[in-house]
Symmetry: C2
Subunit: 234 residues, 2 copies
């Protein structure tokens, strides 16, 4: 924290964030900063490297280092474990398993068919309802590839939600989310809302080392859940 390189780094960062060094402007050369701080070049270099990794600075050989211009708007959303979210709110949490079936993947007519998401031979289908403080909170439809997670067969998902179990047992390497709005439709009865009520639908495809692990579609009543994303440019 109080190392010299982190001090240099935060000095530079505050000059940038404050606008004192506007986007596109050139910052002092490494040798100038070496003279200014009286340290070795590696130390300055390390500080700048961290800011480059954070996207705040761009370096060009011979030309120097420049404050990066903010480019694409990206935001980091956190899609946490539902059980954890609800516990944090101080509400009781329960998962009701509605359906459990083994099925050959070929039969599934799912919208889970995404390019590059080719499920193995057999799939575990799990439908359930997350309940918070006695009220339905999220309707979940999940497929687990049994080739990727064979232990799932011997797991009792009436006790733990499959999402929580997977988090702890199957590491993954890649996921893709799709967030849409739709009407509750047939899920409305289970969620105890009108069929026409607006819902937030989160679909997630998860891979491990290029192999599909699980697909999940979660339906949240629009007034009971929202995603919040923090965002810092560059």
């Amino acid at each position: 924290m109080s190392s010299l390189d982190s001090r240099i780094r935060s000095d530079l960062e505050s000059k940038i964030r404050s606008g004192e060094w506007p986007p596109g402007s050139r910052i002092p050369t490494e040798l100038e900063l070496v003279a200014q701080y009286g340290c070795a070049r590696m130390t300055v270099h390390k500080a700048i490297t961290a800011l480059v990794a954070a996207g705040l600075i761009e370096r060009r050989k011979k030309a120097g280092s420049f404050v990066a211009r903010p480019h694409v708007q990206t935001a980091v959303i956190e899609i946490p474990d539902i059980a954890a979210v609800i516990s944090e709110r101080g509400e009781t949490y329960r998962f009701d398993l509605l359906r459990r079936a083994r099925a050959p993947a070929a039969i599934l007519d799912e919208a889970s068919n995404l390019a590059g998401f080719d499920l193995g031979d057999e799939v575990l289908v799990l439908d359930g309802l997350h309940v918070a403080a006695g009220r339905p909170f999220c309707l979940e439809h999940r497929l687990i590839d049994l080739a990727a997670a064979p232990q799932a067969v011997d797991t009792d998902f009436t006790a733990t939600a499959p999402g929580s179990w997977l988090l702890g047992h199957i590491p993954w390497s890649q996921a893709r989310h799709r967030i849409t709005a739709c009407s509750a439709g047939a899920g409305g009865e289970l969620l105890q809302i009108a069929r026409s009520a607006a819902c937030l639908q989160v679909e997630r495809w998860t891979w491990r080392a290029g192999q599909p692990v699980t697909f999940v579609r979660q339906l949240f009543p629009g007034d009971r859940y929202d995603l919040v994303a923090e965002f810092t440019p560059n």
Copy 2:
């Protein structure tokens, strides 16, 4: 790319991502890796540092370096310029300005009142409709703090959407997004959908150096837009 440290880094990373080194397991000490690669410790250290920054590895003094357990599910969503999105699809794009007004911020009864988002004295209110291929695509309600962006007064927003203009003219340092599902409500007429139709609502608060810059609420018909988020754990 082909530097030694990046080679070491990708070696380690693939051992982790493949599962050969499972979460929680200890990786070789820096000195062992030095012996293995025949390089200086700084080089190994740099490679590991990058993986620590990426959240793939955790280091503990005396104990060693360990493969991190995946923790919170975070995803990076891109919230791009609407005009750019539509052009990429190859559709025509138009922005219709529906309302333009200057108002004292005090009057606003907005839900824009977020903790830490205290607008200045005067605000520019801009309501408009993004139109793609002749069909309404997004209904937008925006506030611009005139203290933060005085040039907005002299800008003609019938030509450019305020979002695009702000992107190019006012740098910002922080933003907060809220993504919810709701019914179209009164906006349904303008979007040419039923009042009860599900919509994706994106609200965004933007600051610059701690000062509010703009608030925007965008309403997308649920069937015409969805957010996609890519995600890699750790």
